[in-house]
């Protein structure tokens, strides 16, 4: 009997070098993404923040580099601005809560009850809107909720009038836009809950709702928080929805930033700090619940 061995392959000097030196491998992996992240992302954000402390020359309307807190003082003293900030926060929270309320039962149904065929149909139904353009979806909602639109004409026989262009329509439209970002992580997380935890819970005496409250929701916290970071921060930053379906009284932070971006860049920059602060507070709050530490 003859024994054949696989011949050693020809040596590759570069691979050998990389194999010997760990730092070279790290440089190879990270140089491109870090250039992108630091060079474009962080630096531009930092520049924006710096601009918030500059001011406008009242004669020439030119931006003068310097240091003033007036822009922030303006934001926190003007009642309309405060109202807009709070409205934006409320809208973002409402969108997040609404998405979660839709996502959890849907996820339970998809992951644990639906037939494979039904599951596939629903997965497509959830993700399909992501393929449609952002503006297309907003205009679809606009057509639905406009004065003589679809909603009103269908509901007229029942004596129901739609919300028209209002804060409520903004919330509905933003939920429509960002729902997939909540539904997908929640569905994935529910799929990962072993079926026998449901069995064990009912075996130990828990009814369906108790099981959802004591077993499913706690296990979903990380997914709900991941999803909510999307729904919350994407809603905070949006202004096009408010512009097309919000009517006169649904201005959001983004609307103010957009209208100031040419007139008064320092004020726009100062205002963009507000949603950043909201997101930071939101993340700190979720951390405080301790829900993430047991995972």
């Amino acid at each position: 009997m003859t024994i054949t061995t696989t011949p050693a392959r020809t040596s590759k000097p570069l691979s050998t070098l990389l194999y010997r030196h760990r730092w070279m491998r790290l440089v190879g992996l990270l140089s491109l993404p870090l250039t992108w992240l630091i060079g474009l992302y962080i630096v531009s954000l930092a520049l924006l923040l710096v601009t918030a402390f500059w001011y406008i020359d009242s004669f020439t309307s030119k931006v003068i580099p310097g240091f003033t807190l007036e822009n922030f003082v303006l934001i926190f003293s003007e009642p309309a601005y405060i109202a807009t900030s709070l409205r934006t926060l409320g809208i973002a929270l409402a969108v997040t809560v609404l998405s979660a309320i839709f996502a959890v039962p849907l996820g339970i149904f998809m992951a644990k009850l639906a037939s494979p065929w039904m599951r596939a149909v629903l997965a497509v139904a959830i993700t399909l809107p992501l393929w449609a353009g952002y503006l297309v979806k907003i205009l679809a909602m606009r057509i639905t909720f406009t004065e003589e639109g679809f909603f009103n004409s269908v509901m007229a026989p029942f004596g129901i009038t739609g919300p028209g262009f209002s804060v409520l329509t903004v919330v509905l439209t933003l939920t429509y836009l960002w729902f997939p970002y909540m539904a997908l992580p929640v569905y994935t997380a529910i799929r990962q809950i072993p079926v026998n935890l449901f069995d064990a819970s009912s075996d130990l005496g828990a009814h369906g709702f108790t099981t959802i409250r004591t077993v499913v929701l706690p296990l979903l916290w990380p997914a709900l928080i991941a999803g909510s970071v999307f729904t919350f921060s994407l809603s905070l930053g949006d202004y096009i929805v408010a512009r097309f379906v919000g009517g006169a009284n649904a201005q959001m932070i983004g609307s103010i930033i957009a209208s100031n971006i040419n007139l008064n860049p320092p004020v726009a920059a100062a205002f963009s700090v507000i949603p950043i602060a909201f997101v930071v507070f939101y993340l700190l709050a979720t951390r405080r619940t301790g829900a993430l530490e047991r995972m």
């Binding site: 026998n196 064990a200 819970s201 009912s202 075996d203 130990l204 077993v215 047991r294 995972m295």
Partner: protein, 360 residues
């Protein structure tokens, strides 16, 4: 929350006395189909109160389905189930006085051990102080007080298994269902847990219904065993009955090793054309010239293989007319000696005729 009858009053007399005689399980003509496949086929089975009852069978034989039907996780297609004299055929799991120990324990990963054990009391809204007290007692019973504040993933398999047991027993069920609870443990731990399970069952005095595919485990633990095959029960009996007097060829083959001798060979050997089964430990090997006694049956053959298992050696003997007989011999010779028979030896396999079981 839950129906009052599902809660055992905390000041009820000890479970051992109060519940003895009221934890029987009756299955009557139970059939369960999943689409086209029949998992359980018209099964009638009666488990007596306080007994350690095993359902033994290969995977896919329907034993786990029967357990899930008793627990209420699946609904019967037809037939009825009664627990402690009450019909529960269409009752939800949370309305049945049974609890389950799951194969992979099914501990809630986000709850501490104490919270896991307390879960059943918590959903029944038992007072916090009483919960603490009963959890402490339950953890003591399985000797795991020191892990109360840990999370399930920080425990070893054996510890998790005991916590699953404590979580089920804290509710003082009339019947405890165990779905291959020792399957994931290694051999030594499994044997230790078998003894512990048996002790706990004797202590609490309730009915244990135990699903396993391990025939040795079933023989070791059970008061009675039901041997499952293809959704039907082949035989129910004490470990001794099912091992010594298998009523079907399947039972003879599934429990231990068996020499199944078909009708044709049996007729040549004994004059009666019924298949018989004889256990290897009842077969003796002798020299080919030794004359068997009047009450003995013998076949001549050649050893084709010897298997050393430690305490015993198995000899596989093939006869000229196509019969294969396994003989097992205790290694009671001096450790330094080799076995008295070797591969290729011509031998005579002998057993007492009435030691062979007739397999109808």
């Amino acid at each position: 929350m839950s129906a009052p009858h599902a809660t055992t009053a905390p000041d009820a007399p000890g479970p051992a006395d109060a519940q003895r005689g009221q934890g029987g399980v009756e299955l009557t003509a139970v059939t369960k189909r999943f689409g086209e496949t029949t998992a359980v086929d018209s099964l009638t089975l009666s488990v007596e109160s306080g007994e350690f009852f095993s359902m033994l069978g290969p995977s896919g034989s329907g034993k786990t389905t029967v357990l899930r039907l008793i627990a209420g996780f699946e609904e019967v297609t037809s037939g009825s189930i009664a627990i402690a004299g009450t019909d529960v055929t269409s009752a939800a799991p949370f309305d049945r006085t049974v609890n389950t120990v799951f194969q992979d324990y099914a501990l809630f990963p986000h709850m501490t051990i104490a919270e896991n054990v307390a879960y059943g009391l918590r959903v029944r809204k038992v007072a916090k102080a009483e919960q603490r007290e009963r959890v402490a007692t339950a953890l003591e019973q399985v000797r795991l007080t020191h892990v109360a504040d840990r999370l399930p993933h920080q425990l070893s398999g054996g510890q998790r298994q005991r916590i699953a047991l404590a979580r089920a027993l804290i509710l003082q069920p009339r019947v405890l269902l165990l779905d291959e609870p020792l399957g994931a443990l290694d051999k030594q731990l499994r044997e230790q847990m078998q003894i512990e399970l048996k002790q706990i069952q004797r202590e609490v005095g309730i009915t244990f219904i135990f699903v396993t595919h391990d025939q040795e485990e079933a023989l070791t633990l059970s008061d009675r065993i039901a041997v499952f095959n293809n959704g039907r029960v082949e035989q129910v009996g004490t470990p001794r009955e099912v091992y010594e007097y298998p009523q079907t060829a399947f039972v003879a083959g599934f429990l231990g090793i068996s020499n199944l001798i078909d009708a044709e060979h049996a007729k040549r050997l004994t004059g009666v054309a019924t298949p018989i089964s004889v256990r290897p430990e009842r077969v003796r090997l002798v020299d080919a010239r030794t004359k068997p006694a009047a009450n003995e049956t013998s076949v001549d053959g050649t050893i084709v293989e010897t298997v050393y298992t430690g305490p015993t050696t198995r000899y596989i003997v093939d006869t000229a007319d196509g019969l294969r007989v396994v003989a097992e011999r205790h290694n009671d010779h001096a450790p330094s000696d080799t076995a008295p028979y070797h591969r290729g030896d011509a031998v005579r396999a002998v057993w007492v005729t009435e030691h062979a079981a007739i397999v109808p």
